[in-house]
């Protein structure tokens, strides 16, 4: 009997860990009311987390929704599972291409290998991948990539200016090369303003554990630790975990600031913490998805590597917390011009 009880416990643990990759939402098709209609069918395959992750995937979803409302395209969204194989990703893309969806968008670098294979099989379908440019040579794959290090450079400079203690923090969601680009930019920006500044760097989880993007509790503890060690401005490049960082900053009281990421978190965060969000590093995945779908509707689809950076507002810093950000815009805009002009080169390696 003891053995059976033990087995149940193990089984339950296993099931929970399997179920932990839940989430999910339904996909829908356009209704043909008085809204515009289009023959274009857009297929989109999400990264783990899917619609509703308050981060990267949601940003892609926002772009897709906007395109749907504006052009009346039919959309289909498929979700990814945690820890899945390339074969599963390949099959997802193939189902979309096979179902007549064109263009097909893959959200996240994990789709690189699988998209390479499926794109070869469906030469008449246009594909797009976000955050990867290894398929630049494949004619029917559009690479949508971002200069995250440039935007992070600007918020790094703002953080250094706003800091009174000369000590700032970077909280990364998951320690991957992509997030290291954010870290690299932030550090360089902070050091450009104050070369003696101390930049604390912490990641919430290590791959393949991607929970760091959805662990507000870890975000809060980590930020608390940084505040205790003297930091007064913290950049949260951690998706849904950013909420925890905001809480810790709020609790630390006046003269402590948080910086958001991806979307304008001053507008999306909980009402009680929004006043401490100095600015956000905007990574316009929504713009990229929208532009790509729009080009498809217009009949002149974007191809090759589409890089979104400071010059086309593909990355930027937000101004919605007007009173707070106002003292720092002059310096930030000056640096921005220098980056666009090429006088400042921002490295993407920490």
């Amino acid at each position: 009997m003891r053995r059976v009880t033990k087995l149940v416990a193990v089984a339950a643990a296993a099931t929970f860990s399997l179920a932990a990759c839940g989430g999910g939402s339904d996909s829908d098709t356009v209704d043909s009311g008085d809204s515009p209609t289009s023959d274009i069918k857009v297929g989109l395959a999400y990264d783990v987390g899917g619609r509703g992750d308050q981060s990267f995937n949601d940003s892609a979803a926002a772009g897709l929704d906007k395109a749907k409302d504006e052009f009346g395209v039919e959309i289909k969204e498929l979700e990814a599972s945690n820890g899945e194989t390339d074969a599963a990703r390949e099959e997802r893309l193939r189902l979309l291409a096979d179902g007549g969806f064109n263009p097909v968008i893959g959200v996240g670098f994990a789709y690189a290998t699988s998209m390479g294979k499926v794109a070869e099989e469906f030469p008449d379908t246009q594909f797009a991948i976000i955050d990867d440019e290894t398929l630049a040579e494949t004619p029917n794959v559009t690479s949508l990539v971002f200069a995250e290090e440039q935007g992070s450079y600007l918020v790094g400079a703002i953080a250094a200016e706003a800091s009174k203690t000369g000590n700032v923090g970077y909280v990364g969601g998951v320690n991957t090369p992509l997030l290291q680009k954010f870290e690299a930019g932030f550090k360089q920006g902070a050091e450009a303003v104050n070369k003696d500044i101390e930049v604390q760097v912490k990641y919430l989880s290590q791959p393949p554990d991607f929970s760091g993007f959805a662990a507000p509790d870890k975000g809060e503890t980590t930020a608390q630790g940084m505040i205790d060690a003297g930091a007064d401005v913290i950049y949260a490049a951690a998706g849904g975990s950013g909420g925890g960082v905001f809480k810790a900053i709020k609790a630390a009281g006046a003269d402590h600031w948080a910086i958001g990421v991806d979307s304008d978190q001053y507008l999306t965060a909980e009402a009680d913490v929004k006043d401490i969000i100095l600015t956000s590093m905007l990574k316009r995945v929504d713009t990229a998805v929208y532009d790509f779908v729009k080009s498809s509707v217009d009949g002149e689809v974007l191809t090759g590597v589409q890089r979104f950076d400071l010059s086309d507002e593909g990355v930027a810093y937000s101004l919605s917390n007007e009173a707070a950000i106002e003292p720092f815009t002059a310096k930030a805009d000056e640096l921005k011009e220098q980056i666009i002009g090429g006088e400042i080169k921002v490295s993407d390696k920490p």
Binding site: R3, V4, K6, L7, V8, V10, A11, A12, A13, A14, T15, S17, L18, A19, C21, G22, G23, G24, S25, D26, S27, K76, L78, E79, S81, N82, G83, E84, T85, D86, A87, A88, E91, R92, L95, L96, G99, F109, A110, A112, T113, D131, D132, E133, T134, A136, S143, V145, N175, T176, P177, L178, Q206, P207, P208, D209
Partner: protein, 378 residues
Amino acid sequence: MNKLNADTARRIGLSVAAPVLAVALSVVITSIVLASAGNDPVETFTQMIEYAQEPRTTTLIINAAVTYYFAALAVAFGFRMNLFNIGVDGQYRLAALLAAAVGGAVELPKVLHVGLILLVAVIVGGLWAAVAGLLKVYRGISEVITTIMLNSITTALIAYLLTADKLAVQVEGSNNIGTPEIPASGRVGGIDLVPDSKLQVYGLIVLAAIVGFLYWFVIERSRFGFDLRATGRNEEAAVASGVNVKRMVLISMAISGGIAGLVGMPQLLGASYTYSLDFPAGIGFTGIAIALLGRNTAIGVAIGALLFGFLDTSSQILDLEGVPKEIVLITQGVIVLSVVIAYELVRRYRIVAQQREVGRQLSSAAGSEDSKPQGAQA
């Protein structure tokens, strides 16, 4: 002779009853969930089955099952001895990383190259599991705790090793990072097992069959297997009959980990040729569920692996049809829980049946011996 056959048939019938009951129950519960969410259960299952019959999908199901099979055998080997190796997940990831690194670093003739990669994987998996074995034997720490903790340590260790200045290379323009690709001599080609499918079944399915056979042979037909099962059923009795339990624990743990080391091999040698950030994770936990479902036997586990492969692979079609594919997680969860309940029910039924049988034999024996002056009452 006839009676013996009938007994065997009933024994097999009983041992099949539990998993079948569990699967049936989970289909019923999944149907209820589907219906209450406004989806037609019959249509949903039909879609999944039809999709599974496409040659491509069938191939993918078999490939998923090959991977699951190794994981489930690794868990089952420990289970047979009452050892709970929850660390299969960490063991196979570490094994795959180091095997990929070694495989990508050398050039050897085909057989040697593949052999070397597999050997590294088995040794790494085995040693990593042996850590838990050592702690149990010499410090009395439950392997449940240590293997779970070792999973976390593995994750940190891999994060440390999988960086550009250690085992990995960064490809220009990619946000992924992985070990150098294993050259052609270290890869295992596929087999055209499913007719009309453009995809091939992993060549390592042959290895899976061999490991499955060895598993059966070692557990059921060798002295070591007898000692192992004896220790699993009753440790004191095993000690009394001269089994060195400490040694058994250590060896079993290492073998379980060695099998776990093979989990990542079909993917590594048959598909990705590199260990990168998106290498499949979490298969070790699926293995626990399948080992439970398959009653820790080589054949049962194979069937369980195919079932889970079917559920995972076919679920993709559901998303396209507007049914949340997470529904299969419910199915899998219910299978695992109900299989435990079903085994308990079958076990009780078996005891009751045995008691009845003994009672009948005793009473009939008593009846026939009444005439004798002194019956053997013992």
